[in-house]
């Protein structure tokens, strides 16, 4: 009997209240500082993110050459990207497979298909907005031989691209780029 009464008394004297207090402490965990950090990070990332990220990122398995000079795309232009890897050529933001660089040089069908597609792309850009210029942006591996690049540039000119650009990674130090 004594024991029972003791238990009842203990419960009545605030046992459960203590438990509720603990739960409330857990609920009111202070995450304000965490949200502050996340907000700063979010603003920073939004500021730095490029809408052209897909176009102007370094493609996987491609070593782009470095340059100190950096020019900007023609403001009134819209670009079509051509990626020249050592083993394949991809066209457009959809990365349409064209063939290997050697196919491009030797197979007239591959070359004609590429020319036709590039013409369609440039015509589409002009059709969508007559004021905009079709621009060709070439991203190529630095170990690609110029025989391919020269022909691709010529094809781009044939396909009515107003300007042709080479995409590079921006470097800062001339001594590092040219001296070593």
């Amino acid at each position: 009997m004594k024991k029972i009464s003791y238990k009842v008394n203990r419960a009545a004297s605030g046992g459960p209240r203590k438990a509720r207090g603990k739960i409330q402490k857990v609920r009111s965990l202070n995450i304000t500082s965490l949200i502050d950090i996340l907000t700063i990070l979010l603003v920073f990332l939004i500021k730095n993110v490029s809408l052209d990220a897909e176009r102007l990122t370094v493609p996987d398995q491609m070593a782009l050459p470095s340059s100190i000079v950096a020019e900007e795309l023609e403001k009134s232009g819209r670009s079509v990207v051509l990626k020249v890897f050592t083993d394949q050529i991809l066209l457009g933001s959809e990365n349409m497979y064209v063939g290997t660089p050697d196919d491009f040089m030797t197979d007239t069908d591959v070359r004609n298909q590429l020319l036709q597609f590039m013409r369609e792309q440039s015509a589409q850009i002009v059709a969508q907005n007559p004021d905009s210029l079709p621009l060709l942006l070439i991203q190529a591996d630095e170990t690609i031989q110029c025989r391919y690049i020269t022909d691709i540039v010529a094809l781009g000119a044939d396909a009515d691209f107003a300007n042709i650009y080479f995409s590079t990674v921006r470097g800062d130090d001339p001594q590092l780029l040219y001296g070593s």
Partner: protein, 169 residues
């Protein structure tokens, strides 16, 4: 009365404290990894090209109009696998910059010498802004880009890309 008011105030205060931050946390947790994935960590650059006239001759660019336009001195860089050649109109001997042979057997072009020569040519031709670059087929794209980069850096912003004239015998 006084005690009633204070109770209400306390209740309001506790409502504000118990703001449900879980949805905004979920949003952050979704957005931040996505942004981290698509953020560009490498600064990209672009080099623009001028295309040579289809005839491959002269710096006029627009066919028959070339004769009406004031003749600009022509400067050309020709890239070979073992050397770089600079040809300047009115100068009989081209400048030859041989590639540097490393002890391990590899070769690399002497870009510093190219830089020095272009600086010197520019100092003599301050009104010339165009330069032609002709890479031979076996030359690497990296070499071409470096030659274009140095040309633009040394005061020749208009780079004309030219196809080498190969004679078949």
């Amino acid at each position: 009365m006084a005690s009633g008011v204070s109770k209400r105030r306390t209740q309001k205060g506790s409502d504000v404290q118990e703001l449900n931050l879980m949805p905004i946390m979920n949003l952050f947790i979704t957005i931040i990894p996505m942004l981290l994935m698509i953020t560009v960590t490498v600064h990209m650059a672009l080099l623009s090209l001028n295309l040579a006239a289809s005839g491959g001759e002269g710096a006029g660019g627009e066919g028959g109009e070339a004769s009406d336009v004031e003749k600009v001195k022509e400067i050309k860089i020709i890239l070979y696998t073992d050397r770089i050649e600079i040809r300047e109109e009115g100068v009989s001997d081209p400048i030859l910059i041989p590639a540097i042979f490393s002890p391990d057997g590899s070769t690399r072009h002497d870009y510093l010498a190219l830089d020095d020569h272009l600086t010197e040519i520019k100092s003599r031709n301050e009104d010339v802004f165009e330069i032609g670059i002709t890479p031979y087929p076996d030359v690497y794209y990296g070499t071409l880009i470096r030659a274009i980069d140095i040309s633009k850096l040394r005061g020749f912003p208009e780079v004309k890309y030219e196809r080498p004239r190969v004679m078949v015998l």
